[in-house]
Amino acid sequence: MSDKILEIENLSVSFEGFKALNQLNFSMDTGELRVIIGPNGAGKTTFLDVITGKVQPTEGRALFKGKNLRSKSEHKISRLGIGRKFQTPRVYLKLTPRENLDLSCNRHKNVLATLLGRPSKTEQRTVAGLLETIGLSTKADLSAELLSHGEKQRLEIGMLVAQSPDLLLVDEPVAGLTDEETENVGNLLLTLAASHSIIVIEHDMEFVRQIARQVTVLHQGSVLCEGTMDEVQTNPQVIEVYLGQPEESDA
């Protein structure tokens, strides 16, 4: 029980009657790297929305390290140790990569401490180290709006890590990247997996094969199956969902 970092029980979310998540059950061990796949509209992003407090579940509950996340606001959940990367990169464009990382790195995020405190030596070193890790040292003091799409993706992953969360939620980190950048991000995630629990959502099967150990398939708001990449790929239900998608696209 205690070594589960995330437990989701009978979770449902409906948007005006439409069930984006439907009686979803899911659990994940501490230290695990889990990949979630599923067709468009399966509810993957909504799943992250619930965990991070953006959307309230209609039914069921989500437990993080045994704590119920219901009706906690986004910043409280983040402070508990959950970091999230969005489907399209969301970094602060008018700030530099260094400033982006520094804001995430700040240990005390209430008004007074931020106003009166200065970045500590350790924090400055963390930021410099992270810039190195995500390969943006030379562009550390450029405005982030000048970064390429791939660099923004890496910067946002860096921002997650700077928060030093226990659980990283990464939504489509390689969408729109070149093969080379995809591999970079893959290696970055594998490195991070050594010290964090990570959920990665991805469509790119090549990439999934590169990083995946355990794969969960979502379909129409619930878990269709779970297993290693090979097991999942040979599962008849999964094949049907992916191949038969055009016929049931209104689901």
Binding site: T52, H75, R79, Y92, L103, R118
Partner: protein, 393 residues
């Protein structure tokens, strides 16, 4: 700073401090020029009456700083800062109106047959209270209002409409309460006395001018402190993507309440300084147009630039007074055109233009190439630019 300390640390310290010292030097120099050179110059060219004007416009520059703080940096467009400005103005005017022999009431009260001073006038007998109230009443009101609004995540246009609605409510209240606050007529200050001198006298006006310059410098320092460092970066982050900030573990509410309260307090101080130099405060300062003008000053000078806010307030107001002396009918058209022009041609305002194109123009003037801070292909690719604009959400 002795020779024994490790050299790298000392150097780092010095390097980060030097630009600040230079800036402080420039600010003090400009302040001294405004204090001594400007009045002398205006007197020399026979435009003495413009000294008082300059004093009033410097007071308006303080509001502009506050507007820049919440709009330029944090992205909250307030169209109701006239309320805070007026609260400051009424605060000092009430104090001045009460500078009377024991037992007497301000004249307008007797006109409406009021025998007892309304309760909320009572504390304005005290100078320390009045001075504190000028900044703190608006700040407190801004803080409470801000808390209620921001906590409920009211943002953008809804926030602007709300501030405007508050402005209308306050205008109507002040405008209609003759027996409390002299209604439409407002409160006069130039015939009142402070420390046995008439407020309108040259001596008193000179001191108000000095005070305005000093307070403008202090307001600048306060805003500079707030907008540099982590909080400043966070304000920009809130402006550009507020919900992302939440997922990084920050609660934007506190930060927004803080800057809104500071901004309201600055408007109050400005209102008081403006009132004593113009001689009257009335509900007219809660006109919708005046609050919108405040925003125009900042837009013209340059959003998210403190210098821009000050320059914008001074430039637009001088343009206004000179143009409306010459051509009283066209000022409003001119103001509209100015705003449209700035928004469409110079979205970064005057200072924004100086920072970008201006620098390049200057460089090309001296035959040097344009600065390019990234791959040229990236900087000039229209497609990349399009994505930059549209990939935000």
């Amino acid at each position: 700073m002795t020779a024994n300390t490790p050299p790298t640390d000392v150097q780092m310290h010095r390097r980060s401090r030097r630009p600040l010292l230079v800036e402080a030097g420039i600010v003090v120099a400009i302040a001294l020029l405004i204090l001594f050179a400007a009045p002398a110059l205006l007197t020399a060219i026979g435009q003495e009456f413009r000294i008082n004007m300059l004093g009033r416009f410097l007071a308006l520059a303080i509001v502009a700083l506050g507007i820049d703080l919440i709009w330029g940096y944090t992205g909250m467009l307030s169209l109701g800062h006239g309320v805070f400005f007026s609260l400051g103005g009424y605060g000092i005017a009430m104090f001045l109106q009460l500078q009377l022999p024991e037992g007497e009431l301000p004249e307008f009260f007797t006109l409406y047959g009021v025998k007892d001073l309304p309760f909320f006038w009572q504390p304005f007998h005290s100078l320390p209270f009045s001075i504190a109230a000028i900044a703190l009443v608006p700040a407190l009101m801004g803080g409470v209002l801000g808390y209620l609004v921001f906590r409920n995540r009211i943002r953008g246009v809804y926030f602007s409409i709300l501030t405007q609605a508050a402005l209308i409510v306050f205008f109507n209240f002040f405008n209609s309460q003759q027996k409390l606050i002299n209604g439409t007529n407002g409160l006069k200050t130039d015939t009142t006395k402070i420390f046995d001198v008439y407020t309108g006298s040259d001596q008193a006006q000179g001191i108000f001018y000095l005070l305005t310059v000093v307070l403008l410098v202090l307001a600048y320092v306060l805003c500079r402190w707030l907008t540099s460092g982590r909080v400043g970066k966070l304000l920009v982050a809130i402006r550009d993507d507020e919900s992302r900030v939440r997922f990084s573990g920050y609660d934007p509410t506190g930060y927004k309440v803080l800057v809104f309260a500071v901004s309201a307090g600055l408007a109050g101080v400005a209102g008081a300084l403006y009132t004593v130099q113009s001689g009257i405060i009335s509900p007219k300062s809660m006109d919708i147009a005046f609050s919108i003008e405040m925003v125009i000053w900042v837009a013209v000078g340059g959003r998210a630039s403190l210098v821009g806010a000050v320059v914008g307030a001074l430039a637009v107001n001088f343009a206004k007074s000179i143009l409306s002396e010459q051509f009283p009918d066209i000022w409003l058209f001119f103001q509209g055109a100015l705003f449209l022009g700035v928004v469409t041609v110079l979205p970064g305002g005057f200072v924004g233009w100086l920072r970008n194109q201006g620098q390049d123009h200057l460089r090309s003037l001296f035959g040097r190439p344009r600065r390019v801070i990234t791959y040229p292909s990236l900087a000039e690719d229209p497609e990349v630019d399009y994505e930059r604009q549209n990939l935000r959400n």
